[in-house]
């Protein structure tokens, strides 16, 4: 049973369908996949949820998931804030700082060793 439901689509959707939710978003919004138990539906958001970053492209603006150890990222490969227990160094999340650097347990970053 498929109907073009763009006129009663949820907020922000340009097109949608009964089972998949949003298929495309209105301009400027980000497409995000949301899992609700067995279902996975498309939603359109103005800002991406934690652990994701908005990526714009000609085809589609969408929320991209940061790496598993990253809480906030600039893009998929450059982290800005690591999850608990990881140190941030040059956009990467490390369990331990390299020998030539010093772990800062306050900022959870690897710092130059001051002699």
């Amino acid at each position: 049973m498929h109907r073009n439901m763009s006129q009663i689509c949820p907020g922000g959707c340009a097109t949608c369908s009964e089972y998949n939710g949003c298929m495309s978003c209105k301009p400027r919004l980000f497409f995000h996949l949301e899992r609700r138990d067995m279902k996975q539906i498309g939603v359109c958001v103005s800002s991406c949820p934690p652990g994701h970053v908005g990526q714009r492209s000609r085809e589609r603006n969408e929320c991209i998931k940061c790496k598993a150890d990253c809480e906030a990222c600039f893009n998929k490969n450059f982290c800005m804030k690591c999850k608990n227990g990881f140190y941030l160094h040059h956009g990467k999340c490390l369990e331990n700082c390299p020998d030539w650097l010093e772990p800062n347990n306050h900022t959870m970053e690897c710092n130059e060793i001051v002699h």
Binding site: H2, S17, Y19, G21, L33, R35, M38, Q40, K65
Partner: protein
């Protein structure tokens, strides 16, 4: 003719359903089972991931009309392959709204997890389970072809 599949859907706390589909030649014909998880057609692209999936599930993807996805990120065969790489034991495609899918998935690629096509009323019942339940288990079986009866032919 294509090999038929029996799809047994066991919703949590509800009566089981027995549906029918067809195995797609893109993959091996074999039984499979697992927890049923629906995936959005746009989820099977390289950019997106789903953080809630533990390997061993059976995917169901409701395909949209082709004109709604003018720039598909991957071919259907590669989407089926990607689903397996992400832990799916089997992939079900509801092709009710995209009859071209059957052709796209007819070229053998030797995928090691079965790909089953479903459409029409059976697909509607399956999507109804997805829409109205939190959890369900699925068993996919190979439907036995009727054996030819033994005729005593005298010439």
């Amino acid at each position: 003719s294509a090999q038929k599949a029996i799809i047994r859907v066991i919703p949590f706390k509800l009566e089981p359903l027995t549906l029918e589909g067809v195995f797609a030649s893109v993959a091996e014909v074999m039984p499979a089972e697992g927890k049923l998880l629906q995936f959005h057609p746009l989820s099977l692209c390289n950019t997106s991931e789903d953080e809630h999936t533990v390997p061993g599930f059976v995917s169901i993807v409701k395909l949209e009309r082709p004109q709604r996805d003018l720039h598909p990120c991957l071919s259907l065969a590669n989407k089926a392959k990607l689903a397996g790489e992400r832990g799916a034991h089997a992939v079900l495609f509801d092709i009710t709204d995209d009859e071209s899918a059957a052709d796209q998935l007819s070229k053998p690629r030797g995928l090691s997890h079965p790909v089953v096509l479903i459409w029409g009323h059976d697909a509607e019942l399956l999507m109804g389970v997805v829409n109205n339940n939190r959890e369900a288990h699925v068993k996919i079986e190979v439907k036995e072809m009727p054996a030819w009866p033994d005729y005593d032919v005298w010439i």
